[in-house]
Symmetry: D2
Subunit: 379 residues, 4 copies
Amino acid sequence: MVGGGRDAFIGAVHRMAMRLDGKIDLVAGAFSSSPEKSKLSGEDLLLDPSRVYPDYNTMIERERALPVAERIDFVSIVTPNRTHVPVAKAFLEAGFNVVCDKPLAFDLDEALELERTVQKTGKVFALTHNYTGYPMVKEARELVRRGELGDLLKVVVEYPQGWMIDLLEEKGNKGAAWRTDPQQGGASSCVGDIGTHAENLTRYITGLKIDQLCAEFTTFVKGRRLEDDANFLVRFKGGPKGVLYASQISVGEENNINIRVYGTKASLEWHQEEPNDLIVKYPDAPRRTYRRGNSYISEAAKRFTRIPFGHPEAFIEAFANIYLEAARAIDAEVNGQPVPADCDFPTVADGVEGMLFIATAVRSAKAGGVWTSMASEKK
Amino acid sequence: MVGGGRDAFIGAVHRMAMRLDGKIDLVAGAFSSSPEKSKLSGEDLLLDPSRVYPDYNTMIERERALPVAERIDFVSIVTPNRTHVPVAKAFLEAGFNVVCDKPLAFDLDEALELERTVQKTGKVFALTHNYTGYPMVKEARELVRRGELGDLLKVVVEYPQGWMIDLLEEKGNKGAAWRTDPQQGGASSCVGDIGTHAENLTRYITGLKIDQLCAEFTTFVKGRRLEDDANFLVRFKGGPKGVLYASQISVGEENNINIRVYGTKASLEWHQEEPNDLIVKYPDAPRRTYRRGNSYISEAAKRFTRIPFGHPEAFIEAFANIYLEAARAIDAEVNGQPVPADCDFPTVADGVEGMLFIATAVRSAKAGGVWTSMASEKK
Amino acid sequence: MVGGGRDAFIGAVHRMAMRLDGKIDLVAGAFSSSPEKSKLSGEDLLLDPSRVYPDYNTMIERERALPVAERIDFVSIVTPNRTHVPVAKAFLEAGFNVVCDKPLAFDLDEALELERTVQKTGKVFALTHNYTGYPMVKEARELVRRGELGDLLKVVVEYPQGWMIDLLEEKGNKGAAWRTDPQQGGASSCVGDIGTHAENLTRYITGLKIDQLCAEFTTFVKGRRLEDDANFLVRFKGGPKGVLYASQISVGEENNINIRVYGTKASLEWHQEEPNDLIVKYPDAPRRTYRRGNSYISEAAKRFTRIPFGHPEAFIEAFANIYLEAARAIDAEVNGQPVPADCDFPTVADGVEGMLFIATAVRSAKAGGVWTSMASEKK
Amino acid sequence: MVGGGRDAFIGAVHRMAMRLDGKIDLVAGAFSSSPEKSKLSGEDLLLDPSRVYPDYNTMIERERALPVAERIDFVSIVTPNRTHVPVAKAFLEAGFNVVCDKPLAFDLDEALELERTVQKTGKVFALTHNYTGYPMVKEARELVRRGELGDLLKVVVEYPQGWMIDLLEEKGNKGAAWRTDPQQGGASSCVGDIGTHAENLTRYITGLKIDQLCAEFTTFVKGRRLEDDANFLVRFKGGPKGVLYASQISVGEENNINIRVYGTKASLEWHQEEPNDLIVKYPDAPRRTYRRGNSYISEAAKRFTRIPFGHPEAFIEAFANIYLEAARAIDAEVNGQPVPADCDFPTVADGVEGMLFIATAVRSAKAGGVWTSMASEKK
């Protein structure tokens, strides 16, 4: 692991997700830009001190020096956005597989460069757009794929949070600080942090790609340097329309990402805060609630379930599903096998699409909310 | 009553709303543009045949000929949009008070003309934006007014329906036919029919007025002449932002108007399909669910409740609340008293604001989704 | 109407229920045991003073003296339990049809006597077990009848309220006072007032009759003279089992009557506080939510709906459905026609069954919670 | 680990719960009564083959032979009920700490014997009544403890499942087979398996102990040897009353354990299938929903949370909380420290109480549903 030292929320989540299924062992890491903090974090994690490194370059060098059977099979990158690409490139080029937190990169150029590196090295690269790890999100995708909804017409996807209603970046909150710092988080804060999850979730479930968007960014909290709220109108390729928003000043909301997809025959609805249910509505039949773990759930979703119906699974388990699938691919790669075709995890291409979304959003918003084409951004 | 003959949905609702509290008697009407149908509708309603008229002009003439104590105190207009203003003007100018279904008029010019007529005649004019009749909507307004939410930042208001996913206007559905006919419904179908409720509900609860909007209209059903889906980004006067949409092709949705209002201190949420609850969310305290009929409800909401908590009230009762308040005003007017200051019903000014919203939306949408100022429309 | 004077909750509900559909006019009444209060109540209701009577005997005498076409078609009895039977008998024997509030009688003997009177006079007698007026309760019955649930195994029916957590009967609350006074309310308070609704709702939906019950009565509030909480185990005829409880000291509960019915093939669930939904659960298929007003709803339920889906209906409308059906029967009786076979309202037989339930419950509870047979009570 | 071989549901859950927090390593086991199956299970788990044992006696012997620093710190027992006590006693007497699945024992005598062994050996013994591991269950206990509900009056606790509606024990389902076999599961099936969770959850949250109970057992599925449904009326010590039921034939229910606790000042409600919420209802204030992870949550609950609000935690995390606390105690014991006083996990005393509940229930049910005292059972 690179990053994820003491007090880092997302690093701890990655570690629980890795551990859950007993297939991944954390054996080495460079947990902080401070060598001292990295060392202490390694101690917290009961790691062999010889494999707790002061920085990621040292980690690459020393791990490569180990016999193949002993070195790490992949690295998990959980640093701030700014360093995702340099770290990932270095590991890929040194022959390691990579799991990386989202968003993929600092900007679109970097993302495209990383995509080329992945292609060139042939290594496995997984991006932890964790919400697509939920079984009922996978079920939603299956319902769309098998035509249960008919032709898609409209998507409404929301991601309201409220935790940034205060100027936390000036009150010692590190996560808030780097997210709202254009030098570290990138050109967007709210969209880069959570809007990109909304875009990814939509694309995962529906297969729809954004053609054009109209973005309205607002910075509601005085003194903040980037937007903390963003509303979008969206035109998808092929005709469907969308409403998408992300907000970090929606007081009282916790982590309420949710999606509704409307087709000609039915619609579906999923809420991350009650993730075991998937609601499907029909024009002329009772509403149906699909529930995780039941016999009627598709194989594509069922295999991401660990325990029986009524015993709820939640965020960590969904996150672990990303790792499970990445691990399947990595296991194949390490053993010189082809990556199984049905591996279901977000790739570098998803990350590039996300960065394109962010770049397009920033451009539209800066122009005052002008309809802007996604394609025009990609080089 | 004018309009509301056999099979007309909204006319029947108006009649139930009138009857509920035993303060209004339906005694006369011109129920259809067909004199024969008007007569039969009058029979259905057990009315005195001498007061069932072939058309509204005859109704005005004959009612005026009755002694003051016997003639109607007000007329309820439940015709298609096209005729709201001519009928309302005729009654107002003949000295009758008016309750009128929404939207106010066929277009903005007409609306402004009617506003002048109301001002000139000094009669009571009530517009049945019925969703503001719900007690918990009134409670929401009280919470905003007394600062429970702090300064307002954002509003999300949705009005999805699904009933027009088929081309009903060509299958004998009269309601669908006139709504989608530009000659009868006006320049907008979905926004005129339900989007205007969303705008009105937002303004009622928050007091916010739209400054600029960006509208995306879509006609999803082939052969339809007006939009059946409309998404908006909104900038309110003073800085708050909004997302608003109305849809009649959101399959599986019934009549799901709902609103979320976010402030600096708290947010609130109300769903028309579960109208007895109002949810308030805080950044640092448990969520609260305010429930109709309880001791802690404000007087402003409590007086619109008929039965104790846990005995749910719903759509008809909310509609009746509009009539109750209009009746209070009319009672005063008929008795030569000033209309009580606390009468709480939508007025002609609300209707003008709604028509301005529709006109601005149409202009923005026709321009391809360009931010358009509300003020620029009003003459 | 007899009873229902100023400040009486249930009388006002009856009147709204009568008025809603425009088929019943309140024209006469003896609204209070105080002639003066009866007179004032009549004024409130804008009635012809000549038909506002000081007591029910006078009412009977004078109404009978009117020409047939002018006299009342039926009487609505909304007095405390103590007087239901004497008043009802007097009206029935004088040739009037009767609608009566529940519970039917002061005790079982009285109930049986009234049943004989109804049979002897051949008049219509309707009991306002209003919860069976909800469309989705009727839908539940249809689902059971058509075998959707398979053979029934178990019923859980709950009726918690919390309003009597204080000793209201000594604080001027009249409703609490007569309910808890054995001389006025009968041998049971909580069971007589609301437990009987739970029994009736169960029997209506399932058709099951109680064979034996085990009752635990508790008086939690010091100074109260009758039970304010009652829990039951139930054995139904034919083998199904049940859990039933009623409580008026369940703080924070409003009027939360709800029922779950389990069969071999599926189960259903209905909650009065969200009455437009009916949930059906299957062992191997997604849960279904049936919603009032949709095309897929059975005719038996659909005809009790006034407005489209998504426009919620609630308590008053359900209550009005009892009146609508009673009125259909009364209309037939008054016109010398046979009562239509499909009239769907609670009858005197339902009331007798309810009184038998109360009597059996009291006997079981007094014996310390001994299993007691229903049959043994009926003479 | 003893038990939990291939295909055993609960063994896999225990392993995920152990792993989640990175503080417990599974290093040895006797996973099946079949040595061959034990060996294969050990391979699945990537264990050192030398520590995969053919039976638990061998395991004890060989682990004791290892140097103290290398041997296991505790054993996790996940076998059928029949063998809990013999296995636990053997490990305790050999000096090992024990975590054991519920119910504690085959019968009450055994349970009392085990209690004596635990006392005698001074080892840590934890029982995985996992539902008490949920943070919001702990919050519920805190609310009761600090008097938020006032004096407790009534508890309603339900545990419906539907999975045993078929005669699974004759269709190759091992879990169903041993549960319904009096020789393996004990004198009760449904109550032993899940009723005991309901009793434990009630006691954990409220601190109430059952004084007397009246039990109605039913075997609905033909051919089954023990009850599959059990309804109870309960009298708690000190006056509160209760309704409790457990069912495994409630078709369509999944794992719907839920509890409502009513006091003089407020009531609370928690549902395991939506475990992140805790609802508190007041007579004269809005309902409150307490949500996991928020600042206002008590320390007692907060320390059992891993990730922020809105990122739901669920069954596995709750289960892991039992292990976390047991591990804290075991860590102290192993290091010769006193067990921290605030360790929060179910003990052998809870298990004895549970066995007493089962024994009393069986006695009451066999007598035909007679009120039976808990105390009279304990020797």
